[in-house]
């Protein structure tokens, strides 16, 4: 269908929706709109590396939502659109961002448009453009029944199949029945089907899949929750134009125990996901066996210990040349009121990464120390980190140190609040393979200024970051920056729920050893945000 025609339809839908909404929703209608104009200037021989689009660009984001009651039904709607001429912000100049209508009574819920029914982790946990219906009578404890169908697209423009956003057409249909056998035990059965069509490129894979899953939750004793899900799928896949479909069968299982009581919270988890299990609408990593434990323990009002352990491996069906194991234990301690100082907090964490398999073997150690305190008029926040990357196969052997501290303060001068701050930081990496050392120095100073009586908040920050590299063929770089933000809620917008004018300006200057990479970008954005 003609693009311009569809865009006109979109505008008409938005306009009609707004009009109808205003007519029917009365006081329960909310409109938000943010309009901004941005002027970007990029100069220098390396300007292609900038992520800004040059020139004057606009952006408008409109949202209309409302709710109410009619003939025994609660209804709500939510419509949104975005318009911009900056193709880095969006591939489309005009797009529908949200379109959702929901109506419900005591036991029925109907949803149209944007539909997100999260059945379970493996079966369905993504949004559709379609329709869903749910029946559940809580007072009669009927089975909780949901059906859903629609197109699986990240945005509405995919539905119109515009050239810029066209992707494989993916249709989904699914159903879930959940029943609460007791207040402590429920079971859910999920069936979700998916069918791809209409390749955009000859190399696009097309899938046709069915997932069947059962999820249970049980609280057998006080403080303990057990959850489990098992899923099986059949997936047919054609990996390109003219390539026959092949069929795969996969399964995934997950078990989780959560203990929550007193000062402790404990999570235990085991998961096994077959290499051929494709959670195209759910969430899973194929070819994974995983065990995980996490324990948070509040030893006292001032001391908390967090510990965790994660192990996972691949090659479950011996389909790879070798198996890779990962061990990721960690422990952290957080202490408040250190040395009886009222505002002090100290934290120390240690994380270990062990990964081995085939010819690769790595052992990484990550240690961080954080200390926050107040010294006189200054609040301080200091971090020191040490990371050791150690590989037996000489992939990356490096010692890295990070160190940064921030001092901030707050002063009230009559009707003005000043918030000066200073940030100093650095990073040093010693590459033992290349026998080189890289260093980053960075600093910035900032000044926040709030004038509450005039509803003004602002912040100015100026700084630089310098990367120095030793290795041949690499670049040193120096980035200097200045950022200003100003937000003002003037009285003439006070009639609205919310009205704000804003200004954001930024300057970034990048300078490299290789002069042809240098560039400078200046960006100024001003806009108006209103909600009523």
């Amino acid at each position: 269908m003609d693009r311009k025609f569809l865009q006109k339809i979109l505008c008409v839908i938005l306009a009609l929706s707004c009009s109808v909404s205003i007519l029917f929703a009365g006081d329960n209608l909310h409109i938000s709109n943010e309009f901004s104009l941005t002027h970007n200037e990029v100069s220098g021989p390396g300007k292609a590396s900038s992520s800004l689009t040059e020139g004057l660009r606009y952006m408008n984001v409109l949202g209309v939502s409302g709710y109410g009651q009619s003939q025994g039904f609660d209804y709500s709607f939510n419509i949104g659109g975005k318009a911009t001429d900056d193709l880095r912000n969006d591939a489309k100049q005009l797009s529908l961002t949200n379109f959702q209508f929901r109506a419900s009574d005591k036991s029925n819920t109907l949803n149209l448009g944007d539909t997100f029914e999260s059945f379970s982790q493996y079966s369905l946990s993504t949004s559709l453009k379609g329709v869903s219906y749910r029946f559940y009578d809580e007072s009669a404890n009927t089975p909780d029944f949901t059906i859903v169908t629609g197109l699986v697209y990240p945005r509405w423009d995919n539905v119109w199949r515009d050239h810029e956003t066209k992707t494989v057409e993916r249709q989904a249909i699914g159903g879930r029945i959940k029943y609460n056998f007791t207040p402590d035990f429920f079971a859910g059965v999920n069936v979700v089907g998916l069918d791809d069509d209409r390749r955009v490129r000859t190399t696009d894979s097309l899938y046709n899949s069915m997932v069947y899953s059962l999820d249970l939750e049980y609280r057998p004793i006080p403080g303990l929750t057990l959850k489990t899900e098992s899923a099986f799928n059949t997936t047919k896949v054609s990996e390109g134009e003219g390539i026959d479909y092949t069929t795969r069968h996969g399964h995934a299982h997950k078990f989780e125990a959560v203990g929550d009581g007193g000062p402790s919270r404990v999570n235990l988890e085991y998961e096994r996901t077959d290499p051929n299990f494709q959670a195209l609408l759910g969430s899973a990593t194929p070819d994974r066996e995983k065990a995980k434990a996490r324990w948070r323990y509040r030893y006292s009002k001032t001391l908390t210990v967090n510990s965790g352990f994660l192990w996972f491996r691949d090659n479950l069906e011996h389909q790879r040349s070798f198996t890779t194991h990962n061990y990721r234990p960690e422990i952290g301690v957080s202490v408040r009121r250190v040395f009886d100082r009222q505002y002090s907090t100290a934290g120390l964490t240690y994380k270990f990464d062990r990964k081995y398999g085939g010819t690769s073997s790595t052992s990484n150690h990550i240690t961080n120390f954080n200390y926050r305190d107040r010294f006189g008029i200054f609040d301080s926040d200091t971090n020191i980190g040490y990371t050791l990357y150690d590989t037996e196969t000489r992939v990356i052997d490096s010692r890295q140190y990070t160190y940064n501290t921030m001092l901030s303060s707050r002063h009230t001068l009559d009707k003005v609040i000043l918030k000066p701050s200073l940030s100093l930081g650095g990073w040093t990496a010693s590459d033992e393979l290349a026998d080189t050392r890289d260093i980053i120095y960075e600093y910035s100073i900032g000044l926040g200024m709030d004038i509450p009586d005039h509803k003004i908040t602002s912040d100015l920050r100026i700084g630089m970051s310098k990367l120095e590299k030793e290795a041949a063929g690499t670049d040193d770089s120096l980035r200097s920056f200045a950022n200003l933000s100003l937000y003002y809620r003037p009285d003439f917008l006070a009639k609205l729920n919310y009205g704000m004018l804003f200004l954001r300006a930024g300057l970034n200057d990048f300078s490299y050893t290789t002069g042809t990479r240098d560039f400078r970008e200046t960006s100024v954005t001003t806009g108006l945000n209103i909600q009523f």
Binding site: T97, T115, S125, P154, S300, L310, T359, A429
Partner: protein
């Protein structure tokens, strides 16, 4: 090294034992010394304990317009006599439904923008009650568009990521993050080591509030970074997706192309956004080197890659080959006796390139395809003889069931010897992912 470890242990012990006035108690999971207690309590399926002293509930996420309290009470002796809930700071109390085993539930329909101060009272038949003050919670129903909440959370995550504040970033990640929060935590720290000057901008494409307090989010992003490995700037853009859990908003899952944790995309992302744009996105390999791959899918953890030149002195019996696993160019050899995984014979007049395969090696030509576009080796369609041209790529299925790919960049030389420059990559772990 031993000294460093010893120092770490010492610091650890000092921090644990300094300035604490710890009570002498140990892990009392699931137990309480109180006569009457609450064993668990959920507010709209979110743990009461985990949600903090104040909770904002968003209208869009209430399926039936109600706020539900579910829990289970325990009494040391006797039976439960009654369970009451107040929503107005103890001015009035309402009975909750409960069963003999202590399970109870209570629902109320909140009004917009009104603060409800909740307490829960459990009383046994002897008149003893739980610690009522410990159940205090302020609940508000907001008609704020979920968009505002998600934008606020994403902005905070991006701020923390750009300022390389790992702890600040992880505050916005759910304990139940499907890619495992321990993986994401390590991945972002590795990102911070690999990048300097991170700049991320985004616009929202779609936000959908779902059941169970979940919110789906799709964004368009534009990013620029400086690689600390080679000191060069990189930029990319794309579309990605998140699912957030509400109460408050925490990331539940993320998809490729990732904007956070891309140094371990293989473990952090659960899925890839459906796209046919062919857009190349930034990712990192094991050496923290920047690679551009389609949809930012993981650079296989052990992928070997590079560029080399193969010489043809005589296309019949004197041309070089290549062994992917060793990244070795083979010595010139007699035709028909291929020493490498393949040999490349270049013949004048075109030039015509013959790629000769060692026994057991199969290949497939991808005409006019750049090697960067090959992120996954095809599952089938391999043959034992291919004749690619300049600008074509070839995927190899090697005799040990591993996969490799090469692109023929150019052929130089006015006459023999000819030189063919190739880009290659090899995945030794047996998967088809590059």
């Amino acid at each position: 090294m031993k000294a460093i470890k010893l120092n770490l242990v010492m610091v650890f012990l000092i921090v644990i034992f300094s300035g604490t006035n710890a009570a002498a108690k140990w892990w009392i999971f699931g137990q309480s010394n109180d006569e009457v207690s609450i064993n668990y309590l959920y507010l709209n399926k979110i743990s009461y304990d985990e949600s903090g002293p104040e909770v904002t509930v968003y209208r869009e996420t209430l399926q039936d317009g109600l706020i539900h309290l579910t829990g289970r009470a325990g009494v040391r002796k006797g039976k439960i006599g009654g369970i009451r809930v107040t929503t107005d700071n103890k001015d009035t109390w309402q009975e909750a439904r409960f069963s003999d085993n202590g399970a109870f539930e209570f629902s109320f329909r909140p009004e917009m923008n009104k603060a409800y101060v909740l307490f829960v009272e459990i009383m046994d038949t002897a008149g003893k009650t739980n610690d009522i003050e410990a159940t205090r919670k302020v609940v508000k129903l907001s008609d704020q568009n979920i968009t505002g909440l998600v934008k606020e959370t994403l902005d905070s995550m991006i701020d923390a990521y750009q300022s390389e504040d790992a702890a600040g970033f992880m505050k916005y990640v759910s304990d139940t993050f499907t890619g495992d929060e321990m993986n994401l935590d390590r991945a972002i720290r590795r990102d911070f080591n690999a990048f300097d000057g991170i700049s991320l901008r985004y616009t929202l494409n779609n936000i959908t509030a779902g059941t169970g307090g979940m919110v789906y989010v799709s964004i368009s992003f534009a990013r620029s970074v400086i690689s600390t490995r080679d000191g060069r700037p990189y930029t990319d853009k794309g579309i990605t997706e998140f699912v957030f859990q509400l109460g408050p908003a925490r990331v539940y899952n993320m998809k490729n192309p990732l904007i956070f944790g891309l140094s371990d995309a293989e473990n952090v992302a659960t899925g890839t956004v459906s796209s046919s744009s062919g857009e190349l996105n930034i990712t990192l390999n094991e050496k923290n080197e920047v690679r551009l791959t389609e949809s930012g899918t993981s650079v296989g953890s052990n992928v070997i890659s590079g560029t080399t030149t193969l010489r043809t002195t005589n296309p019949v019996n004197n041309f070089q080959g290549f062994i992917f696993a060793d990244e070795d160019v083979t010595t010139e050899t007699d035709g028909g006796n291929i020493v490498g995984d393949f040999g490349m014979a270049i013949e004048a007049g075109g030039p015509i390139i013959f790629t000769l395969l060692r026994t057991g090696v199969l290949a497939k030509v991808k005409t006019g395809t750049r090697i960067e576009q090959i992120t996954t080796a095809d599952e089938s369609g391999y043959v034992n003889s291919v004749d690619p041209g300049v600008g074509d790529s070839v995927i190899f299925k090697l005799s040990n069931n591993t996969y490799a790919a090469m692109e023929i960049m150019n052929v130089t030389g006015g006459g023999y010897p000819f030189y063919g420059t190739i880009k290659y990559k090899y995945q030794p772990d047996g998967t088809r992912n590059f």
